[in-house]
Structures are given as C-alpha cells and as structure tokens.
C-alpha cells in the first residue's frame, strides 16, 4: 500500500552552519493510512523536533532538509498558505500541555466552533450543536455545559479531550500527538490514549504518538520507532520489538523500567548520560553506554540492517543480538 506519509533523509539542524547541532539526522520513516506509529525516546532524542519538522512549526532558525511526502504532496516545498490549508484538515496535531493550549479568554464552545468554521468544509461550524457533537465524540461529560465554560473551569484531562476533539474535528488523515499524556495523571492517561484508537476506527486517521512512556506505545501503536540522539536506532512491529528488542539501546531502555518479577522488583540502569548533540562521536551515539560496543561502533556510523519483515535497526552488532 502507498504510504500516507513518507519521510526520506530528513535532517534538522540548529545553530550556525560552521558548527551545526543535528537535532534530527538522516530519518527515513513511512506511515501507512490508518496506522498508529509510536515514536519513543528520551529528552534530546529529537522526537519532538521531528514532529515540528513534519508540521513545519519549528523556529525559523532551524534548517530542515530532506523530503516529507504526505498523500502525494511534498510538505517541505509548500508555501506557508498551502501548508496552513492542510493543517487541521488533513494533518493535525495535539500538543503536550493541555493546561495552556486553550485560549483562556474564550469559551470552549467558541474555540471548538472556530475550528469547525475554519476547518470543516461542510459548514458544521454554523450548525447549532456542532461543538457539542465534537465534545461528545471525545466523551467529555456534560458537553452542553462545557461549551459555555472557560478553559480554567476544566481539569487537565478534560482540556486534553477538548484539544483532541478540536484537532480531529475535520477527520484528518494523520494526527500527530506530542507527549499527549505526560502532563496527566495515570488514571486519565489511558482514557486519552483510547481516543486515538477510536479516531482510527471512526475517522480512518493514522496517528503518530510521540512519548517517553513506553507502556503507552506498547499498548496503543502498531509499530514502534526508537530514537536516540536524533537518529532512529530501531523500528519494527510493536509486539516484536517489545518481545525481542534487537538494538542494545532498546534493550537497555526496556530493562531500565522497574518490573515486578515474583516478589521482587528489578531494574537495570543504563550507565552514563545522553550525549551532547553539539559534540557527537563519529560512530554510534550509543557506543559509550553500550555493553556490547566494539571498536568499530566508536569509529563508524552503523548501517541499516533489516532483521525481519519491517523490522530494521542501526547497529554494528545486529547479527549477534538476535
């Protein structure tokens, strides 16, 4: 099947050109229609910058190169007006902090209606009750009351529901969710994640969810992409990657989560620190912390190895980690 989103050789650099900081480097990624892809990584891994590059919302000083094809259009070559017309209609996004992502001075109803009016072609914004319908779809309790309320009168979880409703009001082909549950309590997180799955079923949208919460990715996504220091290190079907991770970083990351085995809780920390993007080593960025690193890992960048159907990784020791 033709991918909905095809990213080829995407690079994002900040800072002066003499000494660039590569926040995203050589990323290739496909997202199929109606697919849910999870991007996992720690802070500094470039996962949020990657989203910004797709949505074209990075600061002006960011230098983006490569190709981003979205349903037949090359996003990086569109002019600002064309890009703005795509946003909210075919390609949409939910941001990390629900507490500050709604305008405090307008009612929920006003803001939802604004999106409907501007983004839906069928005039849903003009129809009375359109906003209530949107809120009902994201299972917000008492939507008739909420449309008259202001953001500060809603809890974080409720606000995130409103934002998901706004972002998906026009049934976009692709929704990007950047850390959508990080600011929320555990009992609310799952309720938001479920919305994304429903969205796929009801609107046929594909979803990219970016988070450091591995458990969210494991339970929600079809495919997982693990990033480290701006690069993809491993990508594959979610079940397979979580069951049998191949890249030493993925393995270490999973092992560092506390897990209950019998009566004991185990965790294995990854030694060392995330490297400074401004002074990356020539070889694999993870080599300094990697338990199985060899000389070649420190000297040269690892090539792509396809280890199974749609399961690929970047590691010199790909053969041995099976």
């Amino acid at each position: 099947m033709e991918p909905l989103l095809a990213i080829r050789g995407l690079n994002v650099r900040f800072g002066p050109s003499e000494r660039p900081v590569p926040a995203v480097a050589d990323v290739d990624l496909d997202v199929a229609p109606q697919e849910i892809v999870g991007i996992a990584g720690e802070s500094g891994s470039g996962k949020s910058t990657l989203c910004g590059a797709i949505m074209r919302t990075l600061v002006r000083t960011a230098r983006v190169s490569g190709e981003v094809m979205f349903s037949g259009r090359s996003l990086l070559t569109l002019n600002d007006g064309e890009m703005a017309r795509l946003r909210g209609r075919e390609l949409s996004m939910v941001l990390q902090n629900p507490m500050t992502s709604l305008d405090p001075l307008y009612t929920i109803g006003n803001q939802v209606e604004e999106v409907l009016r501007e983004r839906r072609r069928d005039g849903a914004g003009l129809r009375p009750g359109g906003a209530i319908e949107v809120l009902r779809r994201v299972h917000l309790t008492a939507p008739e009351l909420r449309v008259r309320q202001y953001p500060h009168q809603l809890s974080g979880g409720m606000r995130q529901r409103v934002l998901v409703g706004m972002a998906t009001a026009a049934a976009p082909k692709l929704l990007i969710a950047d850390e959508p549950t990080t600011a929320l309590d555990a009992s609310i997180q799952d309720e938001i994640l479920i919305l994304f799955r429903e969205l796929r079923e009801t609107a046929g949208s594909a979803v990219i969810i970016v988070t450091h919460d591995l458990s969210a990715i494991r339970r929600l996504s079809d495919r997982v992409v693990v990033m480290y220091a701006g690069r993809i290190v491993e990508e594959g079907p979610t079940g397979e990657v979580f069951r049998a991770p191949r890249h030493p970083y993925t393995r270490a990351l999973l092992a560092s989560l506390p897990r209950i085995e019998g009566d004991e809780v185990h965790l294995e920390p990854i030694p060392g620190q995330v490297p400074d993007l401004a002074s990356l080593p020539p070889g694999c960025a993870f080599a300094a912390r990697c338990p199985v690193a060899k000389d070649i890992c420190r000297g040269q960048r690892p090539p792509e190895s396809v280890v199974a159907d749609r399961h690929r990784l970047f590691c010199w020791r790909a053969e041995e980690t099976a």
């Binding site: 500094g44 910004g52 919302t57 990075l58 600061v59 400074d276």
Partner: protein, 294 residues
C-alpha cells in the same frame, strides 16, 4: 512543540557562540555612562573655566562653529557670560549625585522593607505594604512636589525628596520577588537543612532578588535624572548658585529665540544620559530577567 533549548542539547552550545540573552551589549551607551560618571567625579579637573564665572564681555556667545563663537567657549555662553560646557559638566555632577543618592538610599530602604515584608509575612507585611501603597498613591512627580512643599528645595532636600518618592517601588518589587522565591524548593530545602531565618534570607533569598533590583536600579537612574531636572525646571529643585541641567534649561528659556544653545545643550545632555542608562538597563534586563517582571 518546536525545538527549544531545553532537551535539544542546545544549552551549552548557545553559551559558547553567541552573546546569549539580550544580544550584543550596548557599547556606545556604556561609554556615555562611563564618561558621565567620570565627568561627575572628576569633571572639575578637565574644565578650565568655573561654571559660575560671570563674564559680561562674553554674554550669549554662540558655540565655536558659529559666527561670533570663540574657542574659549566651545559650546557658547549664557546670559551672564558663563561658559556652557563648564555648566554642563557641573550639572552632570549634581544630576548624577542626586540620581545615584536617590537610587542607592531609596533602594536600600526598599530592599530592607520589602525583604522584611515578603519574608515575615503577616502583620509586618500588611503594614509595610499599605504604607508602600500610600507612597505610590500619587504619580511620582506629584508625590515629589508634595514633599518639596513640605521640605523645601536645594540639593540636600531634593535628595531626600527623591529617596522618599523612590523607596516604595523597590519595596514592592522586592516583596513580590521574595514571596515567589520563598516558595521555591531550594528555600524550603534550606529550612530542612536547618538554616536559620537570617541565613536563609541573606544567603538564599537576597542573592536571587539582587539581580532584579540591580536592573531596576540602573533603569531608575534615568528616571531620577528626569525627575530632578523636572523639579529644577519648575524652580522647585536645585537652586542657584548650584548648577543643574534642568535649572540651566529653565534659565535659558527666556532667551530661546535669540540663543538656542541655552536650551539645546542641557536638553541633549539629559536625553543622552537617560538614554544611555536606559539602554544599559534594558540590556541587563533582557539578559537577567527573561520573565520581564520589572
């Protein structure tokens, strides 16, 4: 969302390669400030003519580059034949002296009271802050006039007046900063560590409000210069024989049509001084107070 310095590994990089927050420091403004301070402290050593030396043979001499000007009086003379340049330098002394005295003394009082109010809270805070409100209940120039009405004019009184109109703003700023900092984790942890109140106030809270205060103080020098020159212009500030830019301007007003330099030079001096101090202050503010609370 978009890549910010946090988490994208840009932090140390920025420090190495750019001027950082606030951009390039204002070199011209800093130089003017330094020149003014030198003029105020040691100006007497550079000028050959006394600022109050009357010379009836040289009344209203224009600046040197205008016909009738003389090298003896580079910027011309006033209605009594006094040298304008000498009067500007002498004016710098009074203007900066009153401004700095007002800022330093007002700042010290304000810091002490603001710190007390913010840190102790309760009744002390309520009382201090209501008094602060009363001192800020009038636009500052009217407040200053009310004090002048009571205390009188002259250098000494003007300094007192400026301290009285100034301290309350410092107290208000310090208190609001202290109230914020007091709730920060490192202050709570200092209590947990067993530090006494005095040590916490002086070692943890004061150093962290000092930057804001310093920035406010530098921005305030310009404001104080304007206040002093305004009072002097109104005839309610510095009195002759002392020299002040505002006073010189007021005296020259009568001759505005025949001798523009009497009103132009003091005005230019005031504008340059105020702009320079403001530019330095703004730069410091951009650099050290990104929240923009001042």
């Amino acid at each position: 969302m978009s890549a910010t310095s946090e988490g994208s590994g840009l932090g140390p990089f920025r420090r190495r390669f750019t001027w950082g927050r606030g951009g390039r420091p204002p070199i011209v403004a800093t130089t003017i400030c330094v020149i003014l301070v030198i003029a105020a402290l040691a100006g007497r050593n550079f000028i050959t003519l006394a600022p109050d030396e009357v010379d009836f043979t040289a009344i209203l001499t224009p600046p040197v580059w205008i016909e009738g000007g003389s090298w003896e009086h580079l910027l011309g003379t006033d209605q009594l034949g006094r040298d304008m340049l000498s009067r500007l330098v002498a004016g710098a002394r009074i203007s900066l002296l009153t401004a700095c005295a007002a800022v330093i003394a007002g700042g010290t009082i304000g810091i002490a009271l603001g710190l007390t109010a913010g840190y102790l809270g309760g009744l002390a805070e309520a009382v201090i802050m209501r008094v602060v409100d009363a001192f800020l209940a009038l636009p500052f120039i009217l407040m200053a006039l009310a004090f002048v009405a009571a205390l009188g004019t002259g250098v000494g009184n003007i300094i007192i007046v400026m301290v009285l109109t100034n301290w309350a703003r410092y107290a208000r700023l310090v208190r609001s900063e202290v109230v914020l900092i007091k709730q920060r984790d490192f202050v709570l942890l200092a209590r947990v560590a067993g530090l006494n109140r005095r040590a916490i106030a002086l070692r943890h809270i004061l150093p962290n409000v000092l930057t804001s205060i310093l920035v406010l103080a530098i921005l305030d020098v310009g404001r104080a210069i304007i206040l002093e020159s305004s009072l002097s212009f109104l005839g309610l500030g510095i009195q002759p024989p002392d020299v002040s830019w505002g006073l010189t301007l007021a005296e020259g007003r009568t001759y505005m049509t025949v001798a523009w330099w009497l009103t132009l030079w003091p005005g230019v001096a005031i504008v340059l001084a105020v702009m320079s101090f403001n530019a330095v202050g703004e730069w410091l503010k951009a650099r050290f107070d990104p929240r923009g609370q001042l």
